[in-house]
């Protein structure tokens, strides 16, 4: 079967067993793979009430029909789990070659549950899985761990000390800084006593209609090379190209979102990164864009930083010492930490300390404390243990929950929504908490994609955001990168998918699949107890106008947009999908909510 293998490798760490099983092609066709397949597995197998760090939670590494197929950016894969940080459905997407090797080993998904008695690492190949003792790996940082597992024809991911110590925003990574980054997936892996996974696969998947794929791929590459975002901005500067641009718009979060303009932005800009710290460009597997950076400081070398890291550990902390910021990024990569949540939590701690609500030396601008604070978090040393729980729990403990810049527990990315109304609606409604990768409004509100809209207007944003949310779910599920969406859209994805799988997908079929995935994720969150009240933003963004910069005087008009959003979605004004909507998406049979609630909806 082209596109999918219809095979899942299931690993039970409690039992020490590995088993290959078939999966119904209908499920793959409906949920596509990647994030969609992960949402299906999570929804059908893990009640959201279980302990995310207990044996009943699962880690589902899912590939898509494009993963490992030589199409532009066809190297992505997804990891789904119940998040210990947010309590929501969680998926983290990565360009690590691990997903490609997993696909080439013959699996659409690797599903891991249970808890091993002692630390282990897992080897996956075409025959199945094998567990090995990991006593010699436990305690090692990411690069040392990956180095020990290095083998030609294979690719490995692992957790670092942060995951071992169950830091709620720890990541699963490889040695190139590529991560399944958000939501504490590293802690879930750590809780299972699973240090690393190595996938070995050589068998490239077949393509049903090669000539058709050649043509679509040729056209796609033309579009990618014709777009200045994908052929110039991202290749030349990486994502850090956004620093000066976001600052100019007045949406560069500064000092825990107290401001939207950083007076020293130039010092941490993409232009400076290129001039002083760039070693060379790099790219994920099969990516013609190449936004990754190999960089160096006077004493260290490594990968990145990305724009999100520069904002989180730079402007958001009032830090303009770029060398320290870059080394803090390397440190997070070695220890296995999500840099956005690390910066968001430290920023929260800095503001709490400045208000006298946290007994700490942390202050905005204290670059000298950055590296030691990150280490304290990863090893849960001293106050680091408190920060390791994320900004929401930290601020609650200090009785100032309003100072945590998060939604549903996930720290916010680097775009102040007071200067982008639609982005505010995105953060509030994203199923995994504040996230810029679930239908980014950066395109229509700041970059003019597909068309430039008035970024301060609330009217008319809901419908467009929903379309983008569905497209993002599709891209995450088929195994491609969102950056390619700067150049090509659904019409290309549908034709590529049709050519690879041999099953005809209309463009609209993909939008419907994206909507199906989004609604299933919503059902999971509703079961977990989330409601309209959680579709909100930190009070600062709703009530405190920015005082200066390109978005001066603005707050987010969320209420107006949220009602429109629910109406567009065919949900009740409580944010619950109606039976009619679920029926139209083929989800009615999966809905496990009590009948009363369903009828009420």
């Amino acid at each position: 079967m082209d596109g999918w293998h219809a095979r899942i490798l299931r690993v039970d760490l409690s039992q020490g067993t590995c088993q290959v099983e078939q999966i119904d092609r209908q499920i793959l066709s409906q949920f596509l793979g990647g994030r969609g397949l992960g949402a299906y597995l999570l929804y059908t197998e893990v009640p959201p009430q279980v302990d995310p760090l207990g044996p009943d939670n699962l880690l589902a590494f899912c590939t898509g029909p494009m993963t490992g197929v030589q199409v532009p950016t066809g190297g992505r894969s997804s990891l789904s789990t119940l998040s210990p940080l947010t309590g929501t459905v969680m998926d983290s997407n990565s360009g690590s070659q691990f997903g490609v090797r997993l696909k080439w080993a013959g699996y659409d998904a690797l599903v891991i549950r249970g808890v091993a008695e002692r630390p282990v690492w897992l080897e996956v190949d075409e025959q199945g899985g094998t567990l090995h003792t990991a006593d010699d790996l436990w305690g090692l940082e990411i690069p040392q761990t990956i180095a020990k597992l290095h083998d030609k024809g294979a690719s490995a991911v692992c957790i670092g000390p942060a995951g071992e110590n169950l830091v709620l925003f720890s990541a699963i990574m490889n040695d190139e800084g590529k991560a399944y980054g958000r939501g504490g997936v590293g802690a879930v892996m750590g809780s299972k006593n699973l240090k690393a996974i190595r996938a070995r696969g050589q068998h490239r998947p077949g393509v049903a209609e090669k000539e058709a794929l050649d043509f679509v791929e040729y056209e796609a590459r033309k579009m990618i090379s014709a777009s200045p975002r994908t052929s110039q901005g991202l290749p030349e500067f990486g994502t850090s190209v956004l620093v000066n641009l976001m600052n100019w718009y007045g949406v560069l979060p500064t000092r825990n979102f107290q401001q939207g303009e950083f007076e020293q932005a130039e010092a941490i800009s993409g232009e400076r990164l290129r001039e002083e710290f760039l070693t060379k460009r790099s790219a994920c597997w099969s990516c013609p864009i190449g936004c990754k950076r190999e960089t160096h400081t006077a004493t260290e070398k490594g990968e990145g930083p990305e724009y999100e890291t520069i904002f989180a550990l730079g402007s958001n902390l009032g830090i303009a010492d770029f060398e320290t910021l870059i080394e803090a990024n390397y440190l997070c990569n070695r220890l296995g930490l999500d840099t956005i949540s690390t910066g968001g939590t430290i920023g929260c701690a800095m503001e709490l300390a400045e208000h006298g609500l946290l007994n700490s030396e942390l202050r905005f601008g204290r670059a000298d404390l950055l590296l030691s604070t990150i280490e304290d978090i990863a090893y849960r040393r001293g106050q680091g243990a408190l920060l390791a729980e994320g900004s929401r729990r930290l601020a609650l403990r200090c009785e100032a929950p309003e100072l945590a810049m998060q939604v549903k527990g996930l720290e916010m990315p680097g775009y102040d929504p007071r200067g982008m109304q639609g982005q505010g609606l995105l953060y509030a409604t994203s199923n995994r908490g504040a996230c810029h990768l679930r239908g980014n409004m950066l395109g229509p509100e700041l970059l003019g994609l597909p068309k430039m809209l008035d970024r301060f207007a609330a009217e008319g944003k809901a419908g467009l955001l929903i379309v983008l949310q569905h497209t993002s779910a599709v891209i995450d599920s088929i195994g491609m990168c969102k950056f390619v969406n700067f150049a090509i859209g659904d019409e290309f994805f549908a034709r590529m998918l049709s050519a690879v799988t041999g099953t005809h997908y209309e463009v609209q079929d993909l939008q419907t699949a994206g909507e199906r995935i989004w609604n299933l994720e919503r059902l999971y969150n509703l079961q977990a107890g989330f409601s309209r009240a959680d579709d909100t933003l930190p009070p600062r963004l709703l009530a405190e106008p920015l005082e200066k910069g390109g978005s001066r005087g603005r707050t987010v008009d969320l209420d107006a947009m949220l009602g429109e959003y629910y109406r567009f979605r065919g949900w009740t004004q409580d944010g619950v999908p109606t039976p009619r909507k679920l029926d139209a998406l083929g989800l009615a049979d999966l809905d496990k909510r009590p009948a009363k609630e369903t009828i009420h909806a």
Partner: protein
């Protein structure tokens, strides 16, 4: 929203994509539609020319709405479109009367933006259920299509994009028309040069499969 309708209505007329009283536009507002009034002049839209009515259910708005309301509704019910433009671009309409299945642009811009614009035909070409069904089907796969001898329907997440596809289509058709004219002229006037159109695009033979 009125401002958007006015802006693109004026552009559609100024570009010659529609006559004084032809064409219509709409935007989806959740379970409601905002559509131009029947007989409205796209070049002179006022607040009273925008009619709000239900996406699925009739109300008094249908008394004033464009005669193509049934087609707009079917499109919204079957696709993720948030905006629709329907106009009668003259060269595209002319080409739809001589091409069999599709208009395939031959110029660079048309190829990049459109690749292929399918043509369908109906017996009752205005405001009919037959067209509604055809339009919903075509726009699940394509962003714009031609109704033979009538005009084009295009969709987008915003009005501007739906407008762009119409504008691009007419330009692509104009280039096809001019090129064929030159080829014709060359039969009698050899001094104008070779008679063959020179293909510059790799995979040009594949566009009809898009």
């Amino acid at each position: 929203m009125l401002e958007q309708f006015q802006k693109f209505g004026q552009d559609l007329f100024a570009r010659g994509l529609t006559s004084s009283h032809g064409g219509n536009m709409s935007a989806r507002l959740g379970d409601r539609i905002l559509i131009t009034r029947t007989g409205a002049m796209l070049n002179h839209l006022t607040e009273k020319d925008l009619i709000e009515t239900g996406l699925e259910e009739n109300d008094s708005g249908v008394m004033l709405a464009s005669s193509e309301l049934v087609v707009h509704r079917a499109i919204y019910q079957n696709t993720s479109a948030l905006a629709i433009v329907h106009v009668h671009p003259p060269i595209a309409v002319a080409l739809s009367l001589v091409e069999q299945d599709a208009i395939i642009p031959i110029d660079n811009e048309g190829s990049y933006v459109l690749r292929k614009v399918p043509i369908v035909q109906a017996e009752l070409t205005t405001g009919s259920k037959e067209v509604a069904k055809l339009a919903a089907k075509m726009l699940r796969e394509y962003k714009i299509f031609m109704l033979r001898g009538h005009g084009c329907f295009s969709i987008g997440p915003v009005l501007e994009e739906a407008y762009q596809w119409c504008s691009s289509l007419e330009e692509a058709c104009r280039i096809i028309y001019l090129t064929r004219l030159l080829q014709l002229a060359q039969v009698g006037v050899p001094a104008l040069g070779g008679a063959e159109r020179i293909e510059f695009r790799k995979h040009s033979e594949d566009y009809d499969k898009w």
